[in-house]
Amino acid sequence: MRVFPRKTSMSSEPFTQLVDAHYAALYRFALSLARNAADAGDLVQQTFFIWATKGHGLRENAKAKAWLFTTLYREFLRGRRRDARSTSIEDLPPGENEVAAEDVDRVRRLDAVAVVDALQEVDEVFRAPLTLFYLEDLSYREIADMLEVPIGTVMSRLSRGKAQLRTALARAEAGASQKIVPFPKAAGGAST
């Protein structure tokens, strides 16, 4: 369906400006959390709905942005069913910190969808700080404020999340190469 503006002056409205400024970044954050586009879209819409009802008193853009990300994360946590894995973070083994040159090259070779898929394989508790780190260029202190967790927890989750992501990316590339099925050679002769 085509939807088009009837009044060009709508673009100057504060709400429209806020949506234009942040909805894409919020969607990417939501996509990493929710793992599918429909739920991610719902989360973004719900976040702006809550802003419209509660958060519109925030006049500073920086505060509005932090408020939106925090609210989206809260809504995600509220909406999803907690499972055992998400509550046993302390039992997780420490992350592997080594980064090889091959890891960097691997990301260059993969397309964006494969990278998102790999990010979505990372444990839920690591995904939120990891996505904010990559997409929003936030410091660990800012991420801690947004997610309302201690700084040390954010640092731990970033370190372990990055290790998980590297593993998932390596697995993604290996999986992609296995999908290439060689053309069978004709028995006893060269293929054309």
Binding site: M1, R2, V3, F4, P5, R6, K7, M10, E13, P14, F15, V19, D20, Y23, A24, Y27, R28, L31, A37, G41, D42, V44, Q45, Q46, F48, F49, W51, A52, T53, H56, G79, N97, E98, V99, A100, A101, D103, V104, V107, R108, D111, A112, V115, V116, L119, T131, F133, Y134, L135, D137, S139, Y140, R141, V154, M155, S156, L158, S159, K162, L165
Partner: protein, 246 residues
């Protein structure tokens, strides 16, 4: 600080002034300056981070999400249940941007139409219209010309038929389906909203028309007794149709 501790801290940041200003991160950076192996590791880690960030930044939101946020409903005619009351976003957003809904002047002669009227006024005030086929335009234009909106005259289609029309929007308002169709009449855009009156709802069917005015917009609400729907028609208050249906 040993190299493993430094790696742990450096994993949480980047080589830029903002991160360097953090005392803990600055200490880890100094450790990297003294340790070539650690420095090389940090360079690779930052390069890896940059590549990941660049890939993720290319992901675009789905088409229509922005419009759905602004319009308060999905930019799709396909109904899908959702736990969110997304449609009320439009109403709330309209309030947030200062659209006054305090100047109701409803004549209050229909059975509790104000909720639908409030929603219809706020939703339509976003300024979006939804395109549709010419046949739909003609159908509703003819319906108004023949007295549509007047007491007792049913909608030209039932809700199932409305939902199937190209350009009809289905909005989940507090768990209830509200259908919207936009069409032109005598050069003015009108938005027609319809929702089913639920069984047991404490509403005496009342075919009289009530009006709600806000600013330059008018909303006429009535009950379609033939179908059992509550209907709201919104448009510019100087649209000729409003003087005719009252």
């Amino acid at each position: 600080m040993n190299p493993e501790q430094a790696k742990f801290i450096l994993s949480s940041g980047r080589r830029d002034e903002r991160h360097a200003a953090d005392p803990l991160f600055a200490e880890a950076l100094r450790a990297a300056e003294r340790d070539p192996a650690l420095a090389a590791w940090f360079e690779r880690s930052c390069a890896h981070d940059r590549e990941i960030a660049a890939k993720l930044a290319t992901i675009e939101p789905p088409a229509g999400l922005r419009e759905a946020i602004l319009a308060g409903g999905r930019a799709s005619a396909t109904r899908r249940k959702t736990r969110f009351l997304r449609a009320t976003l439009a109403a709330a957003a309209a309030l947030a941007v200062g659209i006054s809904v305090s100047r109701w002047s409803a004549t209050a002669n229909a059975a509790e139409p104000t909720d639908l009227a409030k929603f219809a006024l706020a939703d339509s005030s976003r300024g979006w219209v939804h395109s549709h086929a010419d046949s739909v335009q003609n159908q509703f234009e003819r319906w108004l010309d023949e007295g549509g909106g007047r007491a007792g005259l049913p909608l030209p289609a039932n809700l199932a038929q409305l939902q199937a029309l190209e350009g009809c929007r289905v909005i989940d308002v507090a768990g209830r389906d509200v259908f919207e169709i936009c069409f032109q009449h005598e050069g003015r855009w009108l938005h027609l909203y319809a929702t089913r009156i639920e069984p047991g709802e404490n509403l005496a069917p009342d075919a009289r028309v009530a009006t709600t005015m806000t600013g330059e917009r008018c909303c006429a609400t009535w009950v379609d007794t033939a179908h059992g729907y509550r209907v709201a028609l919104v448009g510019s208050s100087d649209s000729p149709v409003f003087s005719r249906v009252l």
